[in-house]
């Protein structure tokens, strides 16, 4: 059953604005990192004069399985029509009354067999069975109100199938938006699926038929350009950016720091990939050798590891440097983000190696206009984002002396930066507002000729 959650579109007379069908599995109230890009994209298309219909899953899916953030649902532009269709996710069904005897007796075997079955309609475990549901829904939407463009966002990649269906049957152009990558492991840089796999064959077909293909950063885009050189021109980077209404406010003019101790801050999840130990060694070296770091503090906010309880090894690394001013402050709630950033003089961008990974934290940091110390390999995708920031202090390697020098330089900058430099940093960050990343592509799509066959 298809449910519409229109905010008044039904009563409005038909108009000549282009109609966008936006296929996105994770749409508010879904709680998760990728949902911010999805929400911002739907809203931005609507604000730039498109009639937007979002095809997504029923709210109950998020209530039952992923958790919800109702505040995100409130941020959906009232002009956006949301069509919700069912999504079965039996692998996550927690109600044991719904389980078969076989599943209860052999849960792991059941999961293995179910994964194989899921991949029959589409090669994506867990999501494959959604294909016929969204294809049918897209057909119904197009029949009722012809679609001029389909934008499908992955993952899950099954979202592309609705776009493919309208393209094949009715010639509707479509855009593929990758928030991650399908064939590329963005952490290792390895290829995930062989050239002859079903996933690879699907992607080849989809890329060949797409009007545009969007990626979140240049390294991922370039990897795909090399993979599909004939279609390189249609591949674009639409960076994530920050949402002004959700990001920490720019710090504005601050009283001079003087000679007081500098407070360094980190906000985010510290995973085992994050070079925390290298940072701590560099910090301790700096505290011992650099006058600029005298009395300085490093406050680590966020989760230590992927779980609610801090990982003992990561916590021990921090606590071992407590005497040198390093402390763990726990996770930060949304309501406390602004107050937390307000305590910092310098931001610590401690990231794991990953040529293809741009952390969302980078954009949040840029929004503040504060000096940023990069404690990550220069090859990290964040380097390209930060290049040109007037108060950016990168490291060439993670040796203690190198990290200490960057920290000391940032501390000096926090004390001595001119109002003009602060203004430049804020202006640099403002360039990464998410809407500014989307606008050029939306304008280009609006200007492109749309060839749509009449719906039957």
């Amino acid at each position: 059953m298809m449910t519409h959650a229109s905010r008044g579109r039904a009563a409005t007379p038909p108009d000549h604005r282009p109609h966008l069908l936006y296929v996105a599995w994770g749409f508010p109230p879904c709680r998760g990192g990728g949902v911010y890009r999805v929400l911002a994209t739907a809203n931005r298309f609507a604000r730039l004069g498109w009639r937007v219909t979002v095809l997504t899953v029923e709210r109950d899916t998020f209530v039952r399985f992923t958790g919800t953030d109702p505040t995100l649902e409130e941020r959906i532009d009232p002009a956006v029509e949301v069509v919700r269709v069912p999504f079965a996710w039996p692998i996550h069904e927690p109600d044991l009354r719904q389980w078969s005897r076989f599943r209860a007796r052999f849960p792991r075997l059941w999961a293995k067999l179910r994964a194989r079955r899921d991949a029959v309609p589409f090669p994506e475990v867990g999501y494959g069975p959604w294909r016929p549901v969204i294809e049918a829904a897209a057909e119904r939407i197009h029949a009722a109100d012809p679609v001029d463009l389909v934008l499908a966002t992955a993952n899950p990649h099954v979202a592309f199938t609705a776009a493919w269906r309208l393209h094949q049957k009715h010639g509707v152009p479509y855009v593929m938006d990758y928030r991650d990558a399908w064939l590329l492991d963005v952490f290792s840089g390895e290829r995930l699926h062989s050239e002859r796999s079903r996933a690879a064959r699907w992607e080849r077909r989809l890329v060949a038929g797409a009007r545009e293909v969007w990626f979140v950063n240049d390294p991922i885009r370039d990897w795909h350009r090399r993979l599909y050189p004939a279609h390189a021109a249609k591949m674009h980077t639409v960076a994530n950016g920050f949402d002004p209404e959700l990001a920490p406010a720019p710090t504005g003019e601050r009283a001079p720091l003087g000679e007081g101790p500098v407070v360094f801050g980190y906000v985010g999840t510290v995973t085992p990939r994050v070079p925390l130990a290298e940072f701590v060694r560099g910090w301790q070296h700096g505290r011992a050798t650099e006058a600029a770091l005298a009395g300085a503090e490093a406050r680590i906010h966020g989760y230590l590891g992927f779980y609610g309880q801090p990982r003992p090894d990561l916590l021990a690394t921090i606590e071992a440097a407590a005497a040198d001013g390093v402390s763990y402050r726990g996770p930060v709630g949304k309501a406390d983000i602004a107050a937390t950033y307000a305590q910092f003089d310098v931001l610590l961008l401690i990231l794991g190696a990953g040529r293809y990974v741009t952390s969302g934290k980078v954009f949040e940091y840029l929004a503040t206009g504060l000096p940023v110390v990069s404690v990550h390999e220069p090859g990290n995708a964040a380097t390209e984002v930060l290049r040109g920031h007037p108060l950016w202090f990168p490291v060439a390697d993670l040796e203690p002396g190198t990290v200490a020098a960057a920290l000391a330089a940032a501390a000096d900058a926090a004390r001595s930066a001119t109002p003009e430099q602060h203004a430049q940093a804020r202006a640099f960050g403002a360039g990464y507002r998410r809407d500014l990343q989307l606008d050029p592509r939306i304008e280009a799509l609006r200007g492109a000729p749309v060839t749509v066959k009449a719906a039957p």
Partner: protein, 171 residues
């Protein structure tokens, strides 16, 4: 509200604290029906603990607290694993097929024993059938949870503390 937890693992304090945190409410009357006694004193977290395997209960007190992985993941999408208190993946030696088979057989045997003991243990059965919600904490307790869920007057039985937390929040 009465909530009964079913688990076969030897839980430490950190694990149980994570479970309680996942449940997300402080007005719950918690009972743990466990195969073996918790590693640490957990009276303040779970006031009532029913131990089904008597031998382990007497020996458990001497075991020092372990650094155990917690259960609450901040991840938006729940783990596909049917074991909701599974430890995060770490680098391990490849496991042979035979070893896997042995593990599976042992797990199945424990699952059967757990259910058998639970249904013949009056206190445990009362705690399970008299609860408003039963939460299965690991895959070996699924069988017992499923058997309970089939009873006509059974309470709702959910797999995983995170799912139970979402259910309790929605209630």
């Amino acid at each position: 509200m009465k909530v009964t937890l079913l688990g076969t693992a030897t839980l430490g304090r950190a694990q149980l604290a994570a479970v309680v945190k996942d449940l997300g409410r402080d007005d719950l009357e918690l009972t743990l029906v466990s195969w073996s006694a918790p590693l640490d004193p957990v009276d303040d977290l779970v006031p009532q603990v029913v131990v089904l395997n008597g031998r382990a209960a007497t020996a458990a007190a001497a075991v020092p607290p372990a650094a155990v992985p917690p259960a609450a993941a901040p991840s938006a999408v729940p783990d596909a694993s049917p074991n909701p208190v599974a430890a995060p993946a770490t680098a391990r030696r490849p496991v042979s097929r035979l070893r896997k088979l042995v593990r599976q057989v042992k797990a199945a045997r424990l699952a059967a024993q757990y259910w058998s003991r639970l249904r013949s243990h009056p206190e445990a059965l009362a705690a399970a059938t008299g609860a408003d919600l039963v939460v299965v904490l690991d895959s070996r307790a699924v069988r017992a949870g499923w058997q309970l869920a089939r009873r006509p007057s059974a309470p709702r039985v959910l797999n995983g503390a995170a799912a139970a937390g979402r259910e309790l929040t929605a209630r």
